[in-house]
C-alpha cells in the first residue's frame, strides 16, 4: 500500500514537472500501484472529446484507478469536420471513432448505455437499463442538449424539418439530404444563437461549407445567416474569406440589423425576426439555444443558466462534492466550447482526480486551444488561445487569430493544418485517427 502511494506521488511530481495540459501526452506510462490495491473508482459519463480523453489519461496517470466509461454509442461521430462533410470535403464515415483502444490498451471498462440519474449522496449513477454503478469520483462530459421550445416553434418535431445538425449523426444526414434535394436558385437560411453555444466559429464555417457545395452544384443559390449577435468569432477573417471564395453568395445579418430570429415555422420553412420581418427558406438550419446535457441537471451541478459552474483549477463542481464536469457542459469562458478545449480539460482534470484520490495537491493547470475553420478547399483560418487560472478565474494568457493579410500559401497551409489537427486530436482522444 505504502509503495503504491509513493509511486503515485512520484507520478504526480512528474505530471507537475511536465505541466498538465495537452503536452502531457508526450509523457510515458506511470508505474502501477501495488498489486490488487485499487486507487479509487471513477465513473465517466460521455465518451466524446472530454470523457474519452479523461478516461484514457486517468489510466495513463494511474492504472490502479478503476475507470468506467458510460456512453450509449459504439462509435462517436464528431461535430468537428461534420461541416466539411456537408461541404463535400470529408467522408461521414471518417468522423466515427470507437472505444477499442480505451478498452484493450488502457483497461477502461466501457458500458454502452445512457446514464439516467445520479445520486450524489449515495455516490451512484443509474443506467438506462436500471443497473447502478458506484463511484468515488464522478465525471460528466455529456456535451450539450437543445433547449427545445426556447426559440418559439423550435421543437423536436420541428428539427425533423428544419435540422440543427449541432450533434453529429442523423441530423447531419438530414441536412445533407435537404441540401442535395434543393433546387438551384434556392435560399439556405442558417439561424445562429446568442452566446454561449457549442463551437463559436461553427455557424460561420458551416455557411462557408454549404457555399462550397452550392458553388459547384447549385451556383444560383443564396445563403442568409440570421444572427442573434452583432459580432462573432474570427469575424473579419470569415467575412473576407466568404467574399474571396464565394463573392456575394453569403449574406450575414447581425442582431442590430434585425437578424435576431424569434419564431420558427418549420412546416413553412419560415422564420420571423424580432422586428417582424419574415424570411422564407428552401433549406432551414436552426442552431438553437443550448444547455448542459440533461445528466448534469440530474446530478444537481447546473445553475440558473443551464450550464455548470466549476472550480477553475480542477473542474470540480461548485455545487456537488466528488463530481467533476468538463467540456461543453461547463461555464469555462473565456475558454470556448470546443473539442480541443474538452480534450485539454480531460487531461488537466484527470491529473486533478489522481491527485485528489491520492490526497495531494494537483499541478497548476494550463490549457490550450486552436479552432481551425475551413472556409474553402485550400483556405483555412484559425484562432488560438492559452488559458490559465488568474485571481481565481480562468483567464486567456495569450492568443490570436490568423493574420488578416495572409497570402494564399498561408491560407492553404492552415487548411492542411486543420486536417492534421483533426487526425491528431482524434488519435489522442480515441486512438482511431
Amino acid at each position: 500500500m505504502t509503495r503504491g502511494r509513493i509511486n503515485r506521488r512520484q507520478a504526480l511530481k512528474l505530471m507537475g514537472a511536465m505541466g498538465a495540459g495537452p503536452f502531457l501526452a508526450a509523457g510515458g506510462r506511470i508505474p502501477p500501484a501495488a498489486a490488487g490495491g485499487s486507487a479509487g473508482r471513477v465513473v465517466v459519463v460521455g465518451g466524446g472529446f472530454g470523457g474519452a480523453t479523461l478516461a484514457k489519461y486517468l489510466k495513463r496517470f494511474d492504472p490502479a484507478v478503476e475507470v468506467t466509461l458510460v456512453e450509449p454509442s459504439r462509435r462517436h461521430f464528431t461535430c468537428p469536420f461534420s461541416n466539411l462533410y456537408l461541404g463535400g470535403l470529408y467522408e461521414f464515415d471518417a468522423l466515427g471513432h470507437g472505444y477499442e483502444e480505451l478498452v484493450r490498451r488502457y483497461g477502461v471498462q466501457v458500458i454502452h448505455s445512457m446514464a439516467d440519474d445520479v445520486d450524489a449522496d449515495a455516490r451512484t449513477v443509474r443506467l438506462a437499463g436500471g443497473e447502478t454503478l458506484s463511484w468515488d469520483r464522478l465525471v460528466l462530459s455529456p456535451g450539450i442538449d437543445i433547449r427545445w421550445g426556447e426559440l418559439e416553434g423550435y421543437t423536436r418535431a420541428a428539427a425533423e424539418k428544419a435540422p440543427h445538425a449541432w450533434q453529429a449523426g442523423p441530423q447531419t444526414h438530414l441536412l445533407k439530404k435537404q441540401l442535395e434535394a434543393m433546387e438551384d436558385g434556392g435560399t439556405f437560411i442558417l439561424v445562429a444563437p446568442e452566446n454561449p453555444f457549442r463551437c463559436p466559429p461553427g455557424p460561420y464555417e458551416r455557411v462557408a461549407m454549404v457555399a462550397n457545395y452550392f458553388k459547384s452544384h447549385k451556383p444560383r443559390s443564396k445563403i442568409l445567416l440570421l444572427d442573434a449577435k452583432d459580432n462573432f468569432s474570427k469575424q473579419g477573417l470569415f467575412l473576407d474569406g466568404w467574399r474571396h471564395n464565394y463573392g456575394e453568395m453569403i449574406e450575414w445579418v447581425g442582431r442590430s440589423h434585425d437578424g435576431g430570429v424569434v419564431r420558427v415555422d418549420a412546416d413553412r420553412l419560415e422564420v420571423e425576426t424580432e422586428f417582424g420581418t419574415l424570411h422564407q427558406a428552401s433549406v432551414l438550419n436552426v442552431v438553437p439555444p443550448q444547455r448542459a446535457g440533461f445528466i448534469a441537471q440530474r446530478a444537481g451541478v447546473t445553475d440558473a443558466s443551464g450550464w455548470v459552474p466549476v472550480e477553475p483549477r480542477t473542474f470540480a463542481s461548485r455545487k456537488v462534492p466528488g463530481v467533476y464536469v468538463i467540456g461543453d457542459a461547463t461555464e469555462a469562458a473565456p475558454m470556448p466550447k470546443s473539442g480541443f478545449c474538452a480534450n485539454a480539460q480531460g487531461k488537466v482534470t484527470a491529473a486533478a482526480i489522481v491527485a485528489d484520490l491520492a490526497g495531494v495537491d494537483g499541478p497548476d493547470p494550463s490549457w490550450a486551444n486552436t479552432c481551425y475553420s475551413t472556409v474553402a478547399p485550400g483556405y483555412g483560418i484559425s484562432v488560438a488561445g492559452v488559458y490559465g487560472v488568474r485571481e481565481g478565474h480562468i483567464a486567456e494568457l495569450a492568443g490570436g487569430v490568423s493574420p488578416a493579410d495572409a497570402d494564399a500559401a498561408f491560407r492553404r497551409r492552415e487548411a492542411e493544418y486543420a486536417v492534421a489537427w483533426y487526425r491528431a486530436i482524434t488519435q489522442d482522444t480515441w486512438g482511431t485517427a
Binding site: N195, P196, K229, D230, N231, R255, S256, H257, D258, E274, F275, G276, D303, A304, S305, E331, A333, P334, H393
Partner: protein, 267 residues
C-alpha cells in the same frame, strides 16, 4: 480585439474613477454597492432604499462586454397615485458610472425596461428606482465579463445604416393593459474614450435621448450615456387607453434626430 493603446487609456480612466469609489475600509467593502458609488448616493440624496420590489437581470457571465443584455423591473401598480418615476442604472467598473436614466409615467403601465449595455470588466451593476411618492428601491447584480466591453466597435460601423430606426409594437392592445414595445436604432455610440489611428481621442457621439409618446404625450423618456451598447436597443411598455399613434424619437450628439411612428390598435 481592442488595441493595446485602448486598453491603456481605458484602464487609466477606470483607475481614476476607482480612486473615487474604491472601498477604503472593510466597512465600506461590506456596504451594498449603491452606498459605495458617489453617483448613486447623489440620486438617493440621503434616503435609504426600501428592501425588495426591484429585479435586475443580467447574465452571470458575459462573453461579450460590448453588448450585455439587461432587464430591470420594479413592482408597481403604475397608477397616478403610485408609480415609478425614474429608474437609474449604474456601472461600478466602467470609466464613468452612469448608464441610463429611464423616466416613466403611469401610461407606461409596467415599470420594466430591457436594453444592452457595455461593461468594461467584471463588476456590479446597480439599479435605483424612485417612485412619485419619494420611495426608493435599489438592487445590485454581479456580472463576470470575459471579453471587455471596450471592444466597442465603431470603426466597423456600417455608415449606410446610420440613424436607421425600427419600432415594433404588439399587433393589438387591450385598453389600459401594458404591451411591450421594441426599439432599435443604428448608431455607433462613440464613447469618446477610443483613439483613432493617429492616437487622438475620437470625440464622444452618442444617442443621448429616446422619447416615446402615445397620442402626443410622453410615456417614456430615456437618457442614455456612453455605457449603452452601440445600436441602442430599448424595450419598454405602454398601456394605451385609446387607439392612435406611438411616436419614438431619438436625439444624438451630432444634432441629428429620427422619429418613427407606429399605429396602436385597440379592439
Amino acid at each position: 480585439m481592442m488595441s493595446r493603446r485602448m486598453v491603456k487609456s481605458a484602464m487609466w480612466l477606470v483607475g481614476g474613477v476607482l480612486l473615487l469609489i474604491s472601498p477604503l475600509s472593510p466597512a465600506w467593502a461590506a456596504a451594498p454597492p449603491w452606498e459605495r458609488v458617489e453617483a448613486v448616493r447623489a440620486v438617493l440624496g440621503g434616503e435609504t432604499p426600501v428592501p425588495g420590489g426591484i429585479r435586475l437581470d443580467l447574465p452571470l457571465v458575459s462573453q461579450d462586454g460590448s453588448a450585455v443584455p439587461l432587464t430591470v423591473e420594479v413592482e408597481s401598480p403604475m397608477t397616478v397615485d403610485d408609480h415609478v418615476e425614474a429608474i437609474h442604472l449604474f456601472s461600478t467598473g466602467n470609466p464613468t458610472p452612469e448608464i441610463a436614466v429611464i423616466r416613466l409615467t403611469p401610461e407606461a403601465g409596467r415599470a420594466r425596461v430591457t436594453m444592452r449595455v457595455r461593461l468594461n470588466e467584471s463588476q456590479s451593476v446597480v439599479a435605483v428606482a424612485r417612485t412619485n411618492t419619494g420611495r426608493f428601491h435599489a438592487v445590485a447584480r454581479d456580472v463576470r465579463v470575459t471579453v471587455s466591453g471596450c471592444l466597442a466597435r465603431g470603426n466597423d460601423f456600417d455608415d449606410a445604416s446610420f440613424m436607421l430606426a425600427r419600432v415594433r409594437a404588439p399587433d393589438r392592445f387591450s385598453p389600459g393593459q401594458p404591451g411591450e414595445v421594441l426599439t432599435l436604432i443604428n448608431h455607433p455610440m462613440e464613447t469618446g474614450l477610443r483613439q483613432n489611428g493617429d492616437g487622438n481621442l475620437i470625440p464622444q457621439r452618442i444617442i443621448h435621448r429616446v422619447v416615446a409618446e402615445v397620442n402626443g404625450s410622453a410615456v417614456m423618456e430615456a437618457e442614455l450615456h456612453r455605457s449603452v451598447a452601440a445600436n441602442p436597443y430599448l424595450r419598454f411598455f405602454v398601456a394605451p387607453t385609446a387607439g392612435g399613434t406611438l411616436a419614438v424619437r431619438w436625439d444624438e450628439d451630432g444634432g441629428e434626430s429620427t422619429v418613427q411612428e407606429v399605429p396602436l390598435r385597440l379592439p
